[in-house]
């Protein structure tokens, strides 16, 4: 009860009602939506979830990672590999997946923070680890090498092994996205969350008022990596295939960062709003470019849209939108 009160805190009732209504809608959505719209919604929830995970490290603790594909890729590969080779289902496999990814996060974080790499240098370190792992997986037979790892496509619902159609995956990613949202709210409203914000703003000043900077940063990257690994597990079982070239690609890492940056870094709604905007734009441009029949045109529209957003709304869409709606997510 105490926890609930802390989570709800001083959020205005109308936000709580809106969120409740939105959740109810999302819960019945598969009954209302066709196949296409459900797949779009799945995509939105995926990016909202993984963006929320990345936002913990960058938006809260201020450490720019451009290598989060590492954790998603490791998570996906471990869970898929265990299932593929030993028939161990993902619900058990995810513990191994999360453990491996969290360890990888701890290693990257410890090296980066211990050697005080900041800003771009830390970002390059995360890229380097991700790329290094990509090449390693290219040559690792257990993981299928560069030829990829394929899971048998099976649409009969088998919740134990996370096999089934889109509706199953929809509810799983919905649960993850809602869970991550609540977790982030709880973290932000905790001592640790405030310590992260202080580190993001000025690490030296934070340490002077007693913040154990290294430990807080380590916790941030480990939680962020662990949550991202879950997204990787989900991804692997949803798409049924994994290639090092895509799973660990820089493009995958960049994809993870976009929703929170576009939506509004360090805010709870930023990753969600960003995911809606980006996925919406992406789908709209797909239709448009299908009509135009020029390869690359979709991405050109996409690039233009990013350009417009970063030039005119550099702090993200959500802070601006919240202002327009007369809401203000209290930036603590």
């Amino acid at each position: 009860m105490n926890l609930v009160r802390r989570l709800v805190g001083n959020a205005p009732p109308r936000i709580l009602w809106s969120l409740g209504a939105l959740l109810a809608l999302l819960l019945i959505a598969p009954a209302l939506l066709g196949k296409y719209w459900l797949s779009v919604l799945i995509l939105i929830l995926y990016f909202a979830y993984v963006g929320q995970a990345w936002n913990i490290l960058m938006g809260f603790a201020g450490q720019l990672s451009l290598g989060h594909a590492l954790y998603a890729g490791l998570g996906g590969y471990i869970a898929a590999g265990l299932y593929f080779h030993y028939g161990i289902g993902p619900w058990a496999g995810l513990f191994a997946a999360v453990a491996v990814a969290a360890t990888a996060g701890a290693i990257v974080g410890y090296l980066g923070f211990r050697f005080s790499l900041a800003g771009v240098y830390f970002a390059l370190l995360t890229i380097a680890f991700s790329e290094f792992t990509r090449v390693a997986f290219d040559h690792w037979a257990w993981a299928g090498g560069s030829g990829g790892l394929f899971l048998k496509v099976d649409a009969t619902r088998d919740i134990v092994n996370l096999r089934g159609g889109p509706v199953l995956f929809y509810y799983v990613i919905l649960a993850l996205a809602v869970g991550a949202f609540i977790l982030c709210r709880a973290l932000l409203e905790s001592r640790l969350g405030r310590y992260w914000l202080a580190i993001r703003e000025d690490a030296e000043a934070a340490q002077a008022v007693g913040v154990p900077v290294l430990r807080c940063k380590m916790i941030a990257i480990v939680i962020s990596a662990a949550l991202t690994a879950l997204a990787g597990v989900w991804n692997a079982f949803y798409y049924n295939n994994l290639f090092p070239e895509t799973a660990f690609a820089m493009g995958r890492s960049i994809e993870i960062t976009l929703a929170p940056i576009i939506g509004g870094l360090g805010t709870l709604f930023g990753p969600v709003v960003g995911a809606v905007v980006l996925t919406g734009l992406g789908e709209a441009f797909t239709d448009l470019s299908d009509a135009l029949r020029i390869s690359g045109i979709k991405q050109i529209f996409y690039g233009l849209a990013l350009l417009v957003i970063v030039v005119y709304r550099p702090a993200g869409v959500w802070p601006w939108l919240a202002d327009k709606l007369g809401l203000k997510e209290r930036q603590p």
Binding site: Y195, E204, A208, V209, G210, V211
Partner: protein, 243 residues
């Protein structure tokens, strides 16, 4: 030297072979206000950084209530009871004034609510209560200086290190700050060591003054003694502040 709140014993520090501080010793008794003065580049802030744990001294030791704290990380030294301000103020720019101080208060209060209450109380004592919801980056310089003091106080230190908190304040503002610090010292018995160029404030607050020049202690005594000390006069020759 037991009984002293702060005890510096022959501390020294070199950077790339350049001697910044050499063999500086002094003590500050519990409940006292002392000042550390000297020309720019004399090593005052380096001494502060060694006390606060930004770096460890190459030689000597720093003790707080008899316990050696030199070599500890800054956050551990804060745990031990040392609060500090930065000469170049370092507010958490994107956070509100209240949240800035709350971060400090969280050091002694685990729960956010309690920490926030404690922070609010400190802000009203420093006259920043009306601005508590403003972002720290929107504050004027004098207010930022006060915010530095408030944030350090929120950690409930036994020893407060103030690095030029009067610089840039108007004379009336200096008086307000002096009054606040004096009251704080008298009411709570908080030990204060301040680096200060504004001599009016030093004279009004400090029971004793330590003077450093070129990284070495050249004099120590009451304000009265120090202003008549020949070495000090030599150092300050031409600096009108030393009236």
């Amino acid at each position: 030297m037991s009984g002293a709140r702060l005890d510096l014993e022959g501390i020294g520090k070199s950077f790339r072979g350049l001697r910044a501080v050499h063999d500086v010793s002094f003590t500050v008794p519990a409940g006292a206000v002392h000042a550390l003065i000297g020309p720019n580049g004399a090593g005052k802030t380096t001494i502060f950084n060694m006390i606060a744990g930004v770096f460890a001294p190459d030689a000597g030791a720093v003790r707080l209530d008899g316990e050696t704290i030199s070599g500890l990380r800054p956050d551990r030294i804060c745990d031990a009871g040392v609060g500090r301000t930065f000469q170049l103020v370092k507010p958490f720019r994107g956070l509100s004034v209240l949240e800035n101080v709350t971060v400090g208060a969280l050091h002694r209060h685990r729960h956010l609510g309690q920490a926030r209450d404690s922070a609010a109380a400190i802000l009203s004592r420093l006259g920043l209560h009306d601005r508590r919801h403003q972002l720290a980056e929107s504050l004027t310089l004098p207010d930022r200086k006060r915010l530095e003091v408030a944030r350090a106080l929120a950690t409930e230190p036994k020893l407060l290190l103030l690095d030029e908190v009067m610089a840039g304040l108007r004379p009336t503002e200096v008086d307000v700050m002096v009054q606040f610090l004096r009251e704080l010292n008298q009411r709570t018995g908080l030990t204060i060591l301040l680096i200060e160029h504004v001599m009016r404030a030093v004279m009004a607050l400090a029971a004793e003054i330590v003077v450093v020049s070129y990284g070495e202690k050249i004099a120590q005594g009451t304000p009265h003694e120090v202003t008549r000390h020949q070495a000090v006069l030599d150092v300050y020759l031409g600096e009108q502040e030393m009236a």
